[in-house]
Symmetry: C2
Subunit: 685 residues, 2 copies
């Protein structure tokens, strides 16, 4: 239908005050000429100044003869969100067929029901003028995508709401735009998954990769092998009916669901249930720590494949998607090395190392999947020449591996650089393109093997209470990277467009904003949390693997209810302060100075407020941090105001900065670079 | 086991500053000598000053030979909540059998697994000294109850936590302590029900009454009659698997689940699916409004009973509970009157009125239930002499009906006075005793027929986003009324004990606190919500049926996302102000005057802040309210400070009060009584 969509960079360019941008004024949509669309569509044409106002008579008409369940649900949800966001009592709560409702404000038309498969058409055309909204697509999945664009276009004009006149043609750059959720390290109830599926759809993502098993738990009930449920899940597993429920829910949103069973490593939970599959004869218990562990399936025992077959035979009917993920990462083969029978087998069969042993194992699994007409996928490590070329290599170790896979003719998707559990900045993820930089080694033909990417929500340090704040808003930036044109890469611009849409995730039940306060109330035992909120705006959780060193600081059932769990990446005041400090260092402008002084004043006052709280267990480690920040702020304030500071004070300052550099209670002070920058410019009296 | 528990009123008596009480200081538990137990146990003995401190080595040992699934789950949840609330990294995440873990801090012992049936033993004994916690009960349900008491006993001593030395013997006053949730007017996903079941268990409630069908929707999938799902649910229904999931979840908490199908009235949804059951030949569509409607099952057609039998045959296996609720309320019989065949049938069979016609219908349904060995229950209206005496009469119309039922030998439970949807004060519900006042007409024998009561969450004006705030904390007061001794009736004392436990409902996922801010953010389009929070503390939703007049202001899909939906009963600043105004009127004390002046100042400043917001659709109606409150506050402030006011000002004040009396946007100004009280005392200059 839209075979020839031109990629066109939006004409506007912006210079935005970062503070305004990040703090966000009231519904930014009403205050700027920028369309707050994320991901940015392939083509946006502004037609005129026409506005289609929304009132209680707003109606949706479907021009098809029948309404697919997907459209029924999508239009109903759209009407509820529109009513909820505006407060308008829309009288007609459901879309209607053209025969029953002529002359609606919004008309929808599509050719056929979409199929949940790779390369399915997700394109749509959205045309708005002051009288009519027309949304057209080849498939009803395209309609689902277009509806999200429309909702993002909702503008406010004082107390009225309207859709601005525009013509949008859109289609994704990559066909595979996924989010992986690891439900093994922590388990997430169905509702948590559903609300995150809604949020994925809001940013046009189309693959939910469900990491179902790992060392810490086997999370799906296998009827023929009940011990997985009984012994290897702590009672936290999905029934098959729940799996079907989630898959159906995703399907309505045009999201494919790819299951993963991670084998032959990362398999402790399998061996807790069925130790007869083990490579080592020992007693297995569910892993409570994080890391890479030794328990490994035994690749030479028939029982291993019998149980695997039972698992796959039961899982396959639950997941209609063509792809099936077998994990395959981080098998260090220690227990294989220790097992004499495996060693004998390898020698006898001329298998020269563990990697080849794993390839042997994978081919057996591949056979099972092929019997079910499934295509196998796995992490980097599974790639060996003997694999058929339709296998998808899921790259987590680096873009070089990915390029190697693409050159070898494999389909591949990227997750390296999209590890949202590592608490890196949104900017870092946004600037990570699956096609690499401009100097790609790949031919045009090879590039076609790159299908897209997946954000990976590994869950060692994440609970149902905090998972939304770890996924959002950063995953929306990844969603844009995978949908929009490569040239759409202005981070600040995207951040600005994203902010209101990030806020409105709340209407889908996403808890990333509300649960910060829930945690802080608990931290203070229900005292006034204002001072902790202010402190949280300059604190970020430790990044990469520096939180939970060695994987043994936390057990899977440890509390994730402390200050660090209320903090998030891209701490807003830290960004504001660091940016102002940088600008001031360069230009010494008074506006920047005034901004800096405001922060420095804020942190001193905040400390006074915080020190008035009754000390609780979880509050205690934060008090010195706040106090030291306040002392630092006082000295820098003095310097900025008087342009002078004594030697003694300078020494104190250096000492304070050293102290602030040390992680406290698993957080780092994210405004430290700004503080240091200012301190380094000090003149000594 | 505990056959002779003495009822003993706690020895302490309190005089509490209402402000301190309601605003709540940090973890009240740490600041007062009162044990924050709700419901208050039958007997509490303070032994000594011993404290059992909680640290990472805290362990639970079960003295039984095996651990029931209920105990496994209850102890695991307890450990998670204890760790989460304290931030302590408890090393042993699960209770152990005595054989594997001697010398634990906490020992649990029970005689047998509890059965989910009326009059099952829920008693427990909890004994705490500085070395050991001992929790004993006849059944594991008693243990579940006792664990909640223990968690409520958690005290904080600066940054440490401990359980204080006490001996508690406890058992419920009434065996039926329920919460009804109407899932027809609005549908609630499984997770919403689960978290509310957890909250029920936190206050020792033991019956979840599931109102599954009504005019607005038929919410359970009946496989043999798929049109209920297809035509009468808007796609919002529970699968049978989900029903089982909720029933199992409740069972783990020691909560019975009683299903209700409301027939023969309140049955529009039935007739949308199967119009052949109707008393009138017309086209039926799902009801979108609220009220009493005419569509009624046809009591003389065989097909009616065929379909009813199919529904009951499928529901019965899902609900193991002995009781089955058939509704039966508000059948006005209009369509029966209009139906000539029904009229002929009545004449022929000597059925003299619609009430007798309904009795005929009920007896047929009764027969079906008896075939399944179920006991029927229904609302007041079902009571006729022909019913067997084990039927339970659910009284919603008044205590007189209930007494009549009890005198007639029927078992009965009370809901009149527990209609939490009507937004009456917690105090009103708390003081509503199923046994009535002291002058009960019932004999001791008749009193035994009163089994307890149920809070009823009718859901015309309640969504998944707001339901928690409508149920909690008021339902906890009803829970105490039904569990604790009749003499435990000091409202302020209960309110004080409840506050921290109400707050800690957040750890069960209850959204009553967090979602206020979510709604206010939406109302302001993500501007600063501070001023709206302050305003919400003196505003309450309209009470009884004054919101949604005639049932037609709202449709079931209208937005419930406005300011009124963020407001709640017992608005905290209104109570504080009204109380101070009353006290000041009597005694003219300066402390009360200062308190009043603080509020008056607050509302003026708040108005300035609020008028700075960009005006949104949902904000607009609140601005005059805030402005008028501020003007009123200014005049009263002047009067209080100067003890004088001009005639013109007095006239203005009267006019302002008249204006403030009028409902705005479905809210009422709850501090109005205090304002009026002060105004009435004005001297004119």
């Amino acid at each position: 239908m839209h075979t020839n969509i031109k990629k066109k960079f939006p004409l506007w360019s912006i210079q935005l005050q970062l503070m305004l941008l990040l703090v966000g004024s009231a519904n930014a949509q009403s205050n700027s000429g920028i369309l707050n669309l994320v991901p940015w569509p392939q083509e946006v044409r502004t037609k005129n100044q026409g506005r289609l106002y929304v009132d209680e008579n707003f109606t949706i008409q479907l021009q098809n003869q029948v309404m697919s369940p997907r459209i029924k649900l999508a239009t109903t949800k759209f009407l509820r969100r529109l009513a909820g966001r505006t407060g308008i009592f829309i009288d007609n709560g459901f879309a209607q067929l053209a025969t029953t409702l002529p002359n609606a404000q919004m008309e929808i038309n599509y050719d056929r029901q979409g199929r949940l498969e790779l390369f399915e058409d997700e394109s749509y055309t959205l045309e708005i003028n002051s009288q009519k909204i027309r949304l057209e697509a080849s498939t009803d999945i395209g309609i689902v995508r277009g509806i999200e664009t429309l909702l993002q276009l909702l503008h406010r004009e004082e107390d009225r709401f309207y859709f601005p006149s525009h013509q949008i043609e859109d289609a994704p750059r990559f066909p595979w735009r996924g989010l992986m959720i690891d439900v093994s390290r922590h388990f997430y109830p169905v509702q948590v998954l559903k609300r995150n599926l809604d949020a994925m759809a809001a940013f046009k993502m189309n693959v939910f990769h469900w990491h179902l098993t790992d060392d810490q738990g086997f999370r799906v009930d296998i009827h023929s092998r009940p011990k997985f449920r009984e012994l290897a899940s702590d009672g936290q597993y999905y029934t098959q009916e729940q799996i079907r429920e989630v898959v159906a829910y995703a399907s309505d949103l045009g999201i494919r669901v790819v299951p993963e069973i991670d084998i032959p490593g990362h398999a402790t939970s399998w061996l807790v249930a069925y130790p007869e599959m083990a490579s080592k004869d020992t007693i297995y218990t569910l892993e409570r720590f994080a890391g890479i562990f030794d328990p490994t399936l035994n690749p030479i025992k028939p029982i291993t494949y019998e149980i695997l077959k039972d698992v796959i035979d039961e899982l396959v009917p639950l997941f209609p998607d063509k792809y099936f993920h077998i994990g395959g990462d981080e098998n260090e083969g220690k227990h294989w090395n220790e097992n004499k029978e495996i060693q004998r087998f390898m020698k006898k069969n001329n298998i020269k190392d563990n990697h080849e042993m794993q390839a042997y194992f994978n081919l057996k699994v591949l056979k099972m999947l092929q019997n079910h007409n499934k295509i196998m996928m796995g992490w980097d490590e599974i790639m060996v020449p003997s694999l058929p070329k339709d296998v998808v290599i899921h790259s987590w170790r680096g873009i070089e591996n990915m390029e190697k896979a693409a050159q070898s003719g494999y389909k591949t998707i990227l997750s390296k650089g999209y590890y949202i559990d590592l608490m890196h900045s949104m900017q870092k993820h946004y600037q990570n393109d699956p096609m690499g930089d401009k100097h790609s080694v790949l031919s045009e033909e090879e590039k076609k093997n790159i299908l897209g990417g997946e954000a990976t929500m590994w869950s060692e340090l994440v609970t149902p209470q905090t998972i939304d704040s770890r996924i959002w808003p950063r995953t929306a930036a990844i969603a844009e990277r995978l949908w929009s044109a490569k040239e759409i890469d202005d981070y600040l611009n995207m951040r600005h467009r994203l902010e209101p849409n990030n806020q409105y995730l709340e209407e889908l039940g996403i808890t990333h904003i509300r649960n910060r306060d829930v945690i802080l109330r608990n931290v203070t035992a229900y005292q006034d949390i204002t001072s902790l909120i202010t402190l949280s705006k300059v604190c970020e959780p430790l990044k990469a693997y520096t939180r939970n060193k060695g994987g043994i600081e936390y057990k899977s059932f440890s509390p994730f209810a402390r200050f660090v769990d209320a903090c998030n990446v891209d701490a807003i005041d830290a960004i504001g302060f660091n940016t102002a400090a940088k600008a001031y260092s360069k230009s010494k402008k008074d506006t920047d100075k005034q901004k800096l002084l405001q922060y420095l004043q804020l942190w001193q006052e905040n400390n006074l407020r915080m020190q008035q709280l009754e000390v609780t267990n979880m509050l205690k480690p934060l008090l010195p941090l706040s106090a030291n920040l306040a002392k630092t702020a006082l000295l820098l304030q003095k310097q900025l105001q008087n342009n002078t500071i004594s030697n003694k004070e300078k020494k104190d300052l250096q000492q304070l900065l050293q102290t602030l550099k040390m992680a406290v209670d698993d957080i780092e002070l994210a405004c430290l670079p700004g503080l240091e920058m200012l301190a380094n410019q000090l003149k000594t009296n």
